[in-house]
């Protein structure tokens, strides 16, 4: 059964299939197929809908795929906004009615009709760098942080989805608590031993300067200069350990003493 090319990055071509087409009419997928579908799901979850929506050729392929395979989406396929089309596809991949499969470019992919050689599309990183003007390091940090956040949000979502007892009100309450905690200075007094819930996990922090540089989007040399200036200003020794938080805050001995972005050249 033929699939539709979604996009091609530096490593592989990603193909979308309706679930029926992917399973070739069989009810059960093989373990290998399941694993491939799982990987596609993750890939889709980690993608930014608005970045994909900017790729006109990609959006056109998705419109055609949805219109052909899912007749109830014909209106969307024809007239829906680009972003809505992409979000619908991502939601269908999440719900498993659509399967996203990485096809190694060197093999044709078992059982997959050879498609015309796709036009080279920019990778996610390239999209960030060209569309948003990010540096290579900033894009890396962005991708890593986004992936971590998606993993956590998915974990929370899965927990609520599985917990029959939890009401919508509880969920809303929890989310509010999380939001409050994120703006609360107390949440930054993070110690590994004190991890007790999602709020602390979301307040990403590190005492490793190389990781902090990535997290905050600076190259190592620039960041070293910034740390030096910050330590000079705050009467810290070179070997004093500080903790960097993902909003740029610097804490020392449990209190916020500075913010790294203030030291950007």
């Amino acid at each position: 059964m033929g699939g539709t090319e979604l996009r091609t990055d530096s490593f592989q071509r990603w193909m979308i299939y309706s679930k029926d087409a992917y399973g070739s009419g069989t009810i059960f997928l093989t373990a290998e197929q399941k694993q491939a579908a799982e990987e596609g799901k993750k890939y889709s979850q980690r993608a930014y809908a608005d970045v994909w929506a900017k790729d006109a050729a990609l959006v056109q392929r998705v419109r055609s795929f949805l219109g052909t395979n899912f007749h109830w989406h014909q209106r969307l396929a024809k007239n829906g906004a680009d972003l809505e089309v992409i979000e619908t596809l991502q939601s269908m991949i999440r719900g498993e009615s659509v399967v996203l499969i990485a096809e190694q470019s060197r093999t044709g992919g078992a059982g997959i009709d050879a498609a015309p050689k796709p036009q080279k599309l920019p990778s996610f990183r390239e999209s960030l760098m060209t569309s948003y003007g990010m540096s290579y390091d900033a894009a890396t940090a962005y991708i890593e942080r986004y992936n971590d956040m998606v993993d956590r949000v998915n974990a929370v979502a899965a927990r609520y989805a599985n917990g029959a007892a939890s009401s919508l009100a509880d969920t809303a309450g929890d989310l509010t608590d999380t939001a409050t905690a994120l703006t609360d200075a107390q949440a930054f007094e993070y110690t590994p031993d004190a991890v007790s819930g999602e709020a602390e996990e979301l307040a990403a922090s590190t005492n490793n300067e190389n990781y902090a540089a990535k997290m905050l989007g600076y190259d190592r040399k620039t960041f070293g200069d910034m740390i030096h200036a910050m330590k000079d200003y705050n009467k810290l020794r070179g070997d004093d350990n500080v903790i960097w938080h993902d909003n740029g805050d610097v804490s020392f001995n449990g209190g916020i003493i500075d913010n790294m972005h203030s030291w950007a050249p």
């Binding site: 703006t183 200075a185 300067e209 190592r220 040399k221 620039t222 070293g224 200069d225 740390i227 030096h228 330590k231 000079d232 200003y233 705050n234 009467k235 020794r237 070179g238 909003n247 740029g248 805050d249 916020i256 003493i257 500075d258 913010n259 972005h261 203030s262 050249p265």
Partner: protein
Amino acid sequence: MTYEHQMAHVSFSIYQDAEPPEFWTNYFNIQPDTAVCKGDPIPDPTGQNRALARRTGVWGIRSKPHIRSDLLEPHLRYLVERLALPRSDLPELLRRTNAHMRFFCYWYNESGDRVPDVPDDIRAMMEAMGGTIEIDEYR
């Protein structure tokens, strides 16, 4: 001004809370690069307008804008000359204000084979006045 990375540079800093920064500006008779009091507000770049405050008073000057060298000595010599060190009354001032005075040396050493070059005479002078020389190494 474009940003340029240098493998070495040095700051001279005095930390204390007894006197305002102007005291040291008058004493050395030079304009500082850094002049803050304990409790001065820190602008909050996260936009949350949190009440963050400086933890210590600082008066300081930097070699970086003036000296271009990957070694420490030219940076240190520049600062010594600019500050007219040694000064005979400085140790007593530091004691009275309970101050910490230091040369804080940025030392980029990614290769791991660079040895910080602090001249003996400057080290001895700084120690005699009650200050320190600290190497802040980055690998």
